[in-house]
Symmetry: C2
């Protein structure tokens, strides 16, 4: 079987998320936005799909490398792309590698009639989710105050059934942010509202100092939080060694640090985190995420998967170590997360009333794609 075509179709949809000046998403007025669908096609007519690829990168850099390759040679293809990154540092990102790798896994699953987690060697079919909030804002009744976070946490846990809740607190450009004191006030309000038995986590501003980060950890320890992510820039691995050695709180990372499984190996060897973090879009796909999981299993370390989506869910259902939670979000009181995206016929991550997200048993990544919508809304 050979790859004969690689295409990216851009299409319009109506978004209700707007970006602040620092790039973080918040609720906003509905407006037109674009998404994209990567399609890999073989000479046998088998296709694999992934949303979110850049047409220019795929067409100019990736397509010429894929044409003629056997799509079941995922390891070979992934290494070809990875090595090519050296030449195209700024453009051939790990996100591009992820889109291709996901489409190849989707293709294999569709070809063989199996969901990806079973091709990988399945471990489970459902994973508990945590409610992962958007970053703090200044919207009345949104995520503007510690009480807002507490009220939303009560809804997420007691109404919607999430077993756990993670705050993303205030970052610039919001007035008064960042603030360790205000972060801890929000975290305390949530703990107070939910009582002692719910797992709580924090992902704060990413450029605190060492001392601020440790103060934040100490405060979260008193509130019996489960973990904290990325309070400092991850390029300073030594800062995370310093923090991890002193904090009793679990420190989870790296998330945005470049370097795929290679970077995680160094973090483990250095003792820079208690729990490793990886997501398919951060490290170049399902293939390298499984390498990170196997690396971490070898050191008896857990991996908390970053972000949601079909790829991360299949990974969570194929791994034999924690990953204890699927990250569901980003959530906000003003946004209906359960709404089905226009380009799908159903969500990738349906959650039952007990807080379990169930992996699709459809072939491949299991996404139920609304091809008619995409064709009708091509850019």
């Amino acid at each position: 079987m050979k790859i004969v075509d690689v295409t990216v179709q851009n299409f319009r949809y109506i978004s209700n998320t707007v970006r602040d000046s620092e790039g973080h998403g918040h609720p906003g007025d509905p407006h037109e936005a674009t998404n994209s669908l990567l399609t890999i096609t073989t000479d046998e007519g088998v296709k694999g799909y992934c949303f979110g690829a850049s047409a220019s990168v795929i067409n100019s850099l990736v397509k010429p490398l894929l044409i003629g390759e056997d799509p079941l040679y995922r390891e070979r293809i992934w290494h070809i792309l990875r090595e090519r990154q050296r030449l195209h540092l700024a453009t051939l990102s790990d996100k591009a590698l992820c889109a291709v790798d996901m489409a190849l896994w989707d293709l294999a699953g569709r070809y063989l009639g199996q969901p990806v987690h079973k091709l990988l060697g399945a471990y489970r079919d459902k994973v508990p989710a945590y409610a992962s909030t958007m970053c703090g804002d200044d919207l009345p009744g949104g995520l503007a105050t510690p009480e807002d976070y507490a009220n939303f946490a009560v809804w997420c846990v007691k109404e919607r059934g999430y077993p756990a809740y993670k705050l993303h607190t205030w970052q610039p450009p919001y007035p008064g942010a960042p603030s360790v004191k205000r972060d801890l006030e929000a975290c305390a309000a949530v703990r107070e509202a939910l009582g002692p038995d719910v797992d709580l986590m924090l992902d704060p501003f990413h450029y605190y100092s060492r001392e601020e980060s440790l103060a934040l950890a100490r405060g979260l320890e008193k509130l019996d939080y489960l973990w904290m992510e990325e309070p400092m820039g991850e390029h300073s691995m030594s800062s995370f060694v310093w923090l991890t050695e002193q904090a009793d709180l679990l420190i989870v990372g790296p998330e945005t640090a470049e370097g795929k499984h290679f970077a995680r190996a160094e973090w483990i060897k250095a003792g820079a985190a208690d729990v490793i973090r990886a997501g398919v879009w951060d490290v170049g796909g399902i293939t390298p995420t499984m390498k990170i999981i196997h690396l971490c299993e070898s050191f008896n370390m857990s991996v908390e998967i970053h972000g949601g989506g079909a790829g991360n869910l299949h990974v969570l259902c194929a791994m034999g170590i924690p990953g204890r939670y699927y990250e569901r979000g980003l959530l906000h009181p003003f946004i209906d997360y359960e709404a089905v995206p226009a380009w799908l016929n159903q969500r990738d991550d349906p959650m039952d009333n007990e807080g379990f997200v169930h992996v699709s048993q459809l072939p491949g990544l299991g996404q139920d794609i609304n091809f008619d919508y995409i064709q009708d809304n091509l850019v």
Copy 2:
């Protein structure tokens, strides 16, 4: 799909290998021996096979854990068996885990119509082999003298086409063994006979002292050998740190040390080897061997696969890092390695005239099993 039956059939064949008092194999008079075939059967009639399982262990310890499980949940099943090892330390060995894991991979491949290396995400379809000798002996014209090793090396490389050659030298109970001096004489004779351009390796006696091991390494460096394996007991990891730090020669290990991927992680962190070693039968199957490969890739370390057979060959064809060689053997001047085992219709590891072993493209492990022979020779 559910597993409904797990059986082991023992069958007779004629062996021309005998064991010395220390357990090493040598050529001998033909005699009756037994092998076994593990069969895992599902409610859909799909079957998976693996040779070499213990009937008593499978029937008493493993079968009750497998009945009712979905055979595509390899990760789940492997962890169930691994955890159960704590209870059955002496009996539920990594070899038993390997047999089950291999049979499950075989079953998945037969079910989906794909060879295992393509399910894993293939990287290549052929691997160069090295000729791996039996241990030294006292058989005239066998492997009794340095000249014998040299003569056999010339045949392996110049006649048969192997691109590389590995000596297993003399061990007890042979008179004069072990001897660093005699090992180096054999290694020198082989280098002399083959010239400077052939990769050569040594796997000697496994209980040399630190000083003897370093002397052996120094001698091999002068002979431009590629690597040395296991000159000391691997339970003393610190001895391998000591050796690896001082030797310029590549030190490859661990092979027999228990502990699966967990042990390899510690060897890497400690700097106890330059190249990691693993084989499916050593670590509990294809599933954990891939974990070791992903662990090693994360640290940019090569993995030289221990031993041959279908499982190791599929692993070699799925890994994106060296593994530069398939280990073909064990070979001896008196044994026709190309002879097809009675229980197969063709060898698992056919080698072409350029020294490449080609992986089977048949579904599953790709073994061409002679079921008639097995039925006719049941014990």
